[in-house]
């Protein structure tokens, strides 16, 4: 037990001082920030996709709304981009309600298909809107005007901003997980019919999870815009973005608190590495690898990597003694 605590403490310290360990190599600093940003998106997806089991493949919609809200705040209102973040979150919650109310009533596949279609719909629409910069997209402030523009040369400030947001998001998820809503979401995922027979308003809870998830995905989009200073329909609303959120969560363990973070820790470096090794021409191979990883997870490891390390507390032993005779004893 103490060894466990010690390892946890060491990990925590490592995460906190990571940017100082990589002062000499900005590439690794940037990589750290990217992992955290991806983990925010995937952890946000995890609320509805992992805990509630409603597999959205269109979360890029909310990411894009967040990114565009931030850049629009700058381009059309001359405000610091981050001012657009809360607006984006509100808008995303609204859009989630519009998509979710009709589709979450239906079986899981409908929801996945509808989210794909809505994602593509929004991407095409955004590329036809001059106000959003059309297919070329929009850029944030070229030069930081004040510190509130959150435009920095070094990746270190981003690292700590992303870390704070991720910590808040995971803290909130942990709190939900242990409360009534966490129980109810798991019940809905296991058997919606049984959950409803026990008084669980399945539709309402799925919608809450979806809206909450949308809000934080949108925040991830706004943060992305602050760091990269630029957004276009493909990088904001592209389907691959949605896929990455799903895959990171699923690789680490969907419906597990740290699953998405673990997935991001593996996939972001893989992607950066293959992009830098293979260059623009090799971008396709990155996604061939992605596709293969996804198929392998689905086929052999549907519960994700973390399930391999799960200590099964009290699970196996009683399982044996439980078999029919034991449960037949009345009192």
């Amino acid at each position: 037990m103490n060894a466990r605590r010690l390892i946890q403490l060491a990990l925590l310290v490592a995460v906190l001082i990571y940017p100082f360990l990589t002062l000499e190599s900005p590439v690794y600093q940037r990589l750290g920030a990217l992992v955290l940003l991806a983990a925010i998106g995937a952890s946000a997806w995890n609320i509805v996709g992992g805990y509630a089991g409603q597999v959205s493949v269109g979360h890029a919609v909310f990411f894009g709304i967040g990114a565009y809200s931030a850049v629009v705040a700058f381009v059309h209102a001359d405000l610091p981009p981050i001012v657009g973040a809360p607006l984006g979150m509100l808008l995303s919650v609204g859009v989630a309600a519009v998509i979710g109310v009709p589709t979450l009533r239906l079986s899981g596949h409908y929801f996945s298909m509808a989210t794909i279609a809505v994602g593509e719909l929004v991407r095409v629409l955004s590329s036809t809107s001059d106000w959003l910069g059309g297919a070329q997209g929009l850029g944030g402030p070229a030069m930081p005007r004040t510190v509130f523009d959150l435009s920095f040369m070094s990746a270190m400030p981003y690292y700590y901003i992303f870390l704070a947001v991720l910590a808040f998001l995971l803290g909130m998820t942990w709190w939900i997980e242990r409360g009534r809503m966490g129980f109810y979401l798991r019940a809905i995922k296991d058997s919606e019919r049984a959950a409803r027979s026990l008084g669980v308003s399945a539709g309402r809870y799925k919608l809450y999870a979806y809206m909450l998830s949308a809000a934080f995905t949108s925040l991830a989009g706004s943060l992305y815009l602050c760091m990269f200073g630029f957004i276009d329909p493909e990088s904001g609303f592209g389907i691959l973005l949605s896929v990455k959120m799903v895959v990171m969560a699923a690789l680490g363990g969907a419906g597990q608190l740290f699953g998405p973070l673990v997935g991001a820790l593996i996939l972001v470096p893989v992607e950066e590495l293959s992009n830098s090794l293979l260059g623009g021409e090799g971008a396709g191979i990155t996604f061939v690898v992605y596709g293969a990883i996804i198929v392998i997870i689905a086929r052999f490891l549907p519960a994700g990597l973390l399930s391999l390390f799960e200590r099964r507390p009290t699970a196996e032993k009683p399982a044996v003694s439980t078999a029919n005779p034991a449960s037949g004893h009345a009192d």
């Binding site: 242990r178 409360g179 009534r180 129980f183 109810y184 798991r186 019940a187 995922k189 296991d190 058997s191 019919r193 049984a194 959950a195 409803r196 027979s197 026990l198 008084g199 669980v200 308003s201 399945a202 507390p313 009290t314 699970a315 009683p318 399982a319 439980t322 078999a323 029919n324 034991a326 449960s327 037949g328 004893h329 009345a330 009192d331």
Partner: protein, 244 residues
């Protein structure tokens, strides 16, 4: 009057699965719904729980019209059920399964777990509280269904073939359990095709055949009714002969 179902009809396409059935349940009743396979009793049952919308008719619960209320609304009013094929929450422990039921009246997760533990003890699953629910066999799962429903502190418990697939010993134990639950003040409606369960447990029986009610009364009255013998027992004999 706790449950008042009036002229309930349920059609699947042109097929009348339930035809103009009216059943009332008084507080403190143990009511049996019986009939051969395909008689419409399970369909009628699912109309009471809100899992299937009625084609026509009304259902009232403790004076409130619940004809169009969804299952979760009915659960909140005090109508709990078990499923014929147990719908266990597979990824959870036995305790967490029961906790889902208890959370209906106890919003705090810790209080709900305390309530769930108490109910598990009552139905004889206390020792297995921390085991994963998927490790339970059929009798355990059926018991867990009942525990989960009880944890929601219902006024009425609707049991859908809660004893099907159990050995005779297990059936006797399950009957004992239902008796205790009833003695604890819960009204019981039970769908069953095992005669032994009906005769030893219920006070009143409604017999379905081909979607219609063909008889009602005490188990003794019903089993000597010629219509019932012809429709239900007769067919059972034939089926048994065919099976062996």
């Amino acid at each position: 009057m706790l449950i008042e179902a009036q002229s309930v009809t349920k059609m699947f396409g042109a097929f009348k699965a339930v035809d103009n059935a009216s059943v009332t349940v008084e507080e403190g009743d143990i009511l049996g719904l019986i009939g051969p396979n395909g008689a419409g009793k399970s369909t009628f049952f699912n109309c009471l729980t809100g899992d299937m919308p009625l084609t026509s008719g009304t259902v009232r619960f403790a004076g409130t019209d619940i004809t169009t209320a969804p299952p979760e609304e009915r659960a909140r009013l005090g109508l709990a059920r078990s499923f014929q094929v147990p719908l266990t929450f597979e990824s959870m422990s036995v305790l967490d399964n029961a906790t889902i039921g208890a959370l209906l009246r106890h919003h705090n997760a810790r209080e709900a777990q305390a309530k769930a533990r108490e109910v598990l003890d009552r139905v004889g699953l206390g020792r297995l509280a921390d085991a994963p629910a998927k490790s339970l066999g059929t009798p355990g799962r059926k018991r867990l269904e009942i525990a989960r429903a009880l944890a929601s502190e219902p006024k009425v418990l609707l049991l859908d073939e809660a004893m099907a697939g159990l050995t005779p010993t297990e059936v006797r134990e399950a009957i004992e359990l239902v008796r205790r639950i009833h003695a604890g003040g819960v009204t019981i409606v039970i769908v069953e095709h095992l005669m032994e369960v009906i005769t030893s447990l219920t006070r009143r029986v409604v017999v379905f055949h081909q979607g219609r009610e063909i008889a009602r009364g005490t188990p003794r009255e019903v089993t000597s009714d010629p219509h019932v013998i012809e429709a239900y027992l007769g067919r059972r004999k034939v089926r048994h002969a065919g099976e062996s």
